[in-house]
Symmetry: C2
Subunit: 77 residues, 2 copies
């Protein structure tokens, strides 16, 4: 079973990496970029029987820092 976990910084949390990319896009001449935020994408290949609870626990314990990050679990197949 393929699982995609989207981890992104919570609104309000400073994102220096996003700011650097924003600045670089401006420097390359791309107009109209208003905001850039960088997150992580974790692609897991897990056994078919893996429960939603186990996936949530993986996120809470390891994959996301829930103090400053939100996560979203997406089942691909």
């Amino acid at each position: 079973m393929k699982i995609r976990i989207h981890v992104s910084l919570k609104p309000g949390v400073l994102d220096p990496q996003g700011r650097a990319v924003h600045h670089a896009l401006d420097g390359l001449g791309f107009a109209g970029v208003e905001d850039v935020r960088i997150g992580r994408l974790v692609e897991l290949d897990v056994a078919d029987g893996t429960s939603d609870d186990a996936l949530t626990e993986m996120c809470e314990k390891l994959l996301a820092n829930t103090v400053i990050e939100n996560y979203r679990i997406e089942k691909v197949s």
Copy 2:
């Protein structure tokens, strides 16, 4: 206009970060995890008129390293 760009390593490219996460999940007792790959998620807020070509160019020039990475552009709204 909100755009989400998913950047992931091409199949076959070594992913030490993914391997470390896989090992950590095993160590925490999560069984059945077969593979872990780590990618990037770039969330852009761009002007409504921004063309697909401009987005592709941003990816090719800055956001993804097309030698080792694939990217996928998703329009959120």
